[in-house]
Symmetry: C2
Subunit: 343 residues, 2 copies
Amino acid sequence: MPRENDFKVKLAQYRELVLPTIAAATPAREPRRHLYDLIGGYLSRVGKGLRPALCIATCRAFGGRDEDVLKSAAALELLHNAFLVHDDIEDESDFRRNEPTLHKQHGVALAVNVGDAMNALSLRLVKDNLPVLGGARTWGVLQEFDHMILETLEGQALELGWVRENNCTATEDDYLRMVLKKTCWYSFIHPCRIGALIARGEGVDLDRFNRFGFFTGAAFQIQDDVLNLVGDASRYGKEIGGDLWEGKRTLILAHLFRSIGSTDLSRVRTLLARPRQLRLPRDIAWLGDMVTTHGSIDYARDVSRQLIAAAESEFETAYGDVPDGPDKTFIRQLVHYMVTRDL
Amino acid sequence: MPRENDFKVKLAQYRELVLPTIAAATPAREPRRHLYDLIGGYLSRVGKGLRPALCIATCRAFGGRDEDVLKSAAALELLHNAFLVHDDIEDESDFRRNEPTLHKQHGVALAVNVGDAMNALSLRLVKDNLPVLGGARTWGVLQEFDHMILETLEGQALELGWVRENNCTATEDDYLRMVLKKTCWYSFIHPCRIGALIARGEGVDLDRFNRFGFFTGAAFQIQDDVLNLVGDASRYGKEIGGDLWEGKRTLILAHLFRSIGSTDLSRVRTLLARPRQLRLPRDIAWLGDMVTTHGSIDYARDVSRQLIAAAESEFETAYGDVPDGPDKTFIRQLVHYMVTRDL
């Protein structure tokens, strides 16, 4: 079986493992119609399940038990979905996982509330660890969630602030700092930290995962930004070029800002200053041409590959001292998948 | 000094007590401009501080110490503000505490994110109780927060669902059930429960506050709905008649639905079916006339007074066995204030 398929099969197995816990986290009670049914429906749009997989695999690699980690892994996935619902409102996105975004289907009001409720249900799962993990480890997991939630919201504020102020000077370093906050902590660093914490308690230095998760997460986000421009819509599940419509500051745009002449930069600035609904298809097409012509997409692909090389080296710091096995192998494959993925 | 002023002076004293803890809960770090400065600015719009006051007063009345309760009281106020920011987006409200709502000032995107961050900072405060309260009581407080957050979001879903479906058959019972969820748990019942829990640990049956908080909270919300129609805008801090513009299902509308003939009801339905921006001032004026003519506002005032009488009786169940003192007196005054307040 080719390596790529092997990885996807394993990823799906981790997802299967955590789905019952995710499903059980939504209360079977009223109000269904405008709250819990919407949550259930949204969660049934099957995502990749990267975060729970990374958390479970890390827990196992460090000698932990599935039953100890499932609630936290499910909580990560619920939190991720809570973020997605609010992010899509904030970015005015139209599609998510091949369907209209939740606020497009049910209005901004109900979608804000659904995101809030998914966030609350995620923390309920963390709290429900107590009888399984005991006070110290449950408390540790809660601390990890506390840190990752605020980091993510800070990263989101940076990104939204750039759009709001029509910032056209953000550098690649600015971008990477923003991505560390917006993506890396909650999607990569903390899933690893939480997995190891549950397996070993206080006995392991969790900071060992920070650089590994940062490099992997930045590569993931940059690949996501690339796919947003050149991916296959049906596989990617979102509108292709959506980031340009939304004016999202990606590494690709940061590269463009420093690569084009002042006349073109001024045209980019004017274009991005318009509210989304006033941007014209021909403007967006021009912007798409610019990032291609100036090599900004290829540049982003290169950076992504360099980050993966760095992540592969950091893998040794993070996992070098745990025994080889299928879970450790899966995590190594996951790093590679970050730049080969097409969805 | 008149009783009313006496109450307001005391309320302000409780507020002063908790303000430093609230201020310290906002991290002094980046990103300021699009996140933490917005939180600081919003929190400086001084609210009444009912929830922390009720929590602190209950803790003291049950023999607890200020230093034990301040973080939880501050967390209640932060959570309240998080709810307000999201509620105003959901209801498309224009004014809050005499200023434009946060999303009117800074856009929906940043406001959704700010609300999320205030919610996270609130839970961080609860978590930071650990060194002060120890595991068992901190855990108890966390459970209380978990319950009140989900109840509130469920109530919000009910209310938003009615608006979205243009429900014109909601009964007074439906309304009271919704208000129990949307308002009473987080604004009245849980502040009392948390105060007593912190003072006494497991040694007190917290359900003793449930009926007291429900009656008080329902009276509070109905008075709020009345003030929204007949209050003084500068004191109330919101647009007068805003609820009619938003189509919010209040006890006043529930009374109107059952009091008017089918022709007028049909006109109400048509009017409320229009999106807010397509409602005309003359339509809203007509609706305002209808609720006056049919005695719906007076009816709501009556119900509010009846609820206060019930709350005064429940006060004995909730606080009858604690010694008399200034905090117990304050809580009794607070009940009375629910129907006399003009802001």
